[in-house]
Symmetry: C2
Subunit: 365 residues, 2 copies
């Protein structure tokens, strides 16, 4: 039997998703028979661990070693040079949300380094960067996968790609794309029973860890807008940026200039009446409020914001912090293909990354 081929893996980022990915990579490296997965580079914001002879780094002790020794962090340009010179094919796993690394994807790809990432930045930045990424992959013979950039580990991007690549016609995409927004509206506007005030709901979500450290990063809708940008582009719309379609921010205009999140949170209750009124109008119509994103392919209408739903609608019936994404297509007809489940969390997001790694390994000869 031939010895197993070897693939070099480079990992950037060891936060919530990154540390879960490292556990999954360690498991995979042990359980992959046909490929030797060799970690040759690992970097966090504090430094990087790698050697000029691309020697194997022990996956399980990589982080503690890096933390203990405090190695210097090379520049992005140096990282590209290093990885492009590796003796085997290289896959870079970017588990950060860094814009600077995202900007460098085309250069990595052009130099033959494949990329896997949950980082939304590159795919929801300018349309020029989007085009540059995919043409760089083509010219570099490299691959780029980003399943976890929408819906974490759920098969959202792979499903949309397959619909398009098999010749189906996507007519509409609709869903709840943010675990935070899901939790907030499932609590604030439940299908049955009573609910608290909006500002209290936001504070509760923050206490339970369902929001970003600064809840305004969820409430501004940008995260959802980025995901819609990615799905719209994959479906064939040349969306210029997440700023090129209407996105409803849930930050009251009067609080746009709060200096700190603490000031924001302490003043949010002043505007509870507005949200209460919206919920009242929905209730009067026998409906509930949800924060959704939608793409109408025919009219090229993309939008993000609050909408009213019948309580029996799958979007209204969502629970916890689940995401739901529905693809309406010509083949599926009136009833969409729907995927529902956790759209955030370290382990499930890392699973999307690991799944992408398996897809690339299958294709690497």
């Amino acid at each position: 039997m031939a010895p197993p081929r070897q693939i070099n893996i480079a990992v950037i980022g060891a936060g919530g998703v990154g540390s879960c990915f490292l556990s999954q990579l360690a498991w995979l490296a042990k359980n992959q028979k046909s490929t030797r997965l060799s970690l040759c580079y690992i970097a966090t914001i504090d430094g990087a661990l790698y050697s000029q002879d691309y020697a194997d780094i022990n996956i399980e002790t990589a982080l503690p070693t890096l933390e203990a020794k405090g190695y210097a962090l090379p520049s992005v340009a140096e990282t590209i040079e290093y990885l492009a010179g590796a003796p085997h094919k290289v896959i870079l796993v970017d588990n950060t949300s860094s814009g600077a690394i995202a900007e460098a994807y085309p250069e990595f790809l052009r130099r033959g380094v494949s990329i896997i990432t949950p980082n939304k930045k590159a795919f929801s930045g300018s349309y020029e960067l989007w085009q540059d990424i995919f043409s760089a992959a083509q010219s570099g013979g490299s691959m780029v996968y980003h399943e976890s950039s929408v819906g974490a580990g759920m098969p959202v991007i792979s499903t949309l790609k397959e619909l398009v690549q098999t010749g189906d016609e996507v007519t509409r995409i609709e869903g709840v794309f943010s675990g935070t927004m899901s939790f907030l509206f499932n609590q604030f506007s439940p299908t049955t029973g009573q609910a608290g005030k909006w500002s209290e709901t936001v504070k509760k979500a923050k206490e339970l860890g369902y929001t970003e450290p600064d809840p305004r990063d969820d409430l501004n809708g940008l995260d959802v807008a980025r995901k819609l940008t990615i799905l719209g582009r994959l479906a064939g719309l040349p969306i210029e940026s997440p700023a090129s379609f209407p996105v409803q921010s849930l930050i009251p205009e009067e609080l746009n200039n709060c200096a700190t999140r603490f000031e924001f949170l302490s003043r949010l209750h002043e505007f509870d009446d507005r949200m209460e009124n919206k919920k009242y109008l929905a209730k009067k119509a026998g409906k509930v409020l949800r924060y959704v994103g939608s793409i109408e392919m025919g009219t090229r209408n993309v939008k993000v914001g609050m909408e009213m739903f019948d309580p029996t609608h799958a979007i209204a019936a969502l629970k916890g912090s689940d995401n739901i994404i529905s693809f309406y297509t010509k083949r599926y007809g009136e009833m969409p293909l729907t995927i529902r489940g956790a759209g955030a969390g370290g382990d499930v997001t890392a699973m999307g990354v690991t799944g992408d790694l398996l897809k690339i390994l299958c294709q690497m000869s």
Copy 2:
């Protein structure tokens, strides 16, 4: 630029799924830049079209040509010899539900012919055949994909495989796996409003084309049992056959020996009280009836039959003839990863086949 590589495609079956697949293949052959997809063999129950020099068959005129000329159908053994001798890599697409062809998969695979199929027979037959199929693929350097054998074009099998291959632990699989059963119970036991008698519901489903020509082929539960067998095995249970776990048949024992489907349908109303009583018991508990399959991985408990669900449960809220499949896993925690949509129909089933074709093309060097 190098000329595109060529792959030989062989297709068996041109019924509801097969004819839709041929349309999708024609579209794909035109839109695939990197691979020339060359149809070298097409067969229906009436005959086969192929030539000893493996010349391209025009995909769009293949069926009418075959029908007009009435070529003889070679034996399965002859087909294997023919395809194993092709000048390029070969993918056999089996769009039949034939048991005989399913039995021959190991031989095709051992001879290097890859297989794609919506045919459940091979994967839900004996566990020995299941093992033989996958070891034959390994020894023959061939691939076998069968996404459409469960949930038609929905990403059910690929998702389950990815959960397992990335190291997640599946704890429970549950769902409505039959479009017919979905329609019957959504009508007979709705979450709101009144409903007709069971026998009337069955007749209505038959008239609308939601059942097999003989509704007993749906009501016996075997189709669901086959799908459960496939998912259970993929999740790691060595299920011996669809007969090795409890499957509730909805054919009253007294009608087991009806000579014809007409006799069966004309007598079904005699047993309406039984189903009415089951629905009454569910209603008294504030629930609805659904026909589901479930797999408990821990206890290895697999079962298929009627169960009661709270009206707010996603399984109760199903509409039309949609399928729903939920994966409970260690990583996803209490809330499952759920996929919902059309689980039958020519175009969506063929799309699963075409999607598998794309997956194999990606991996063929």
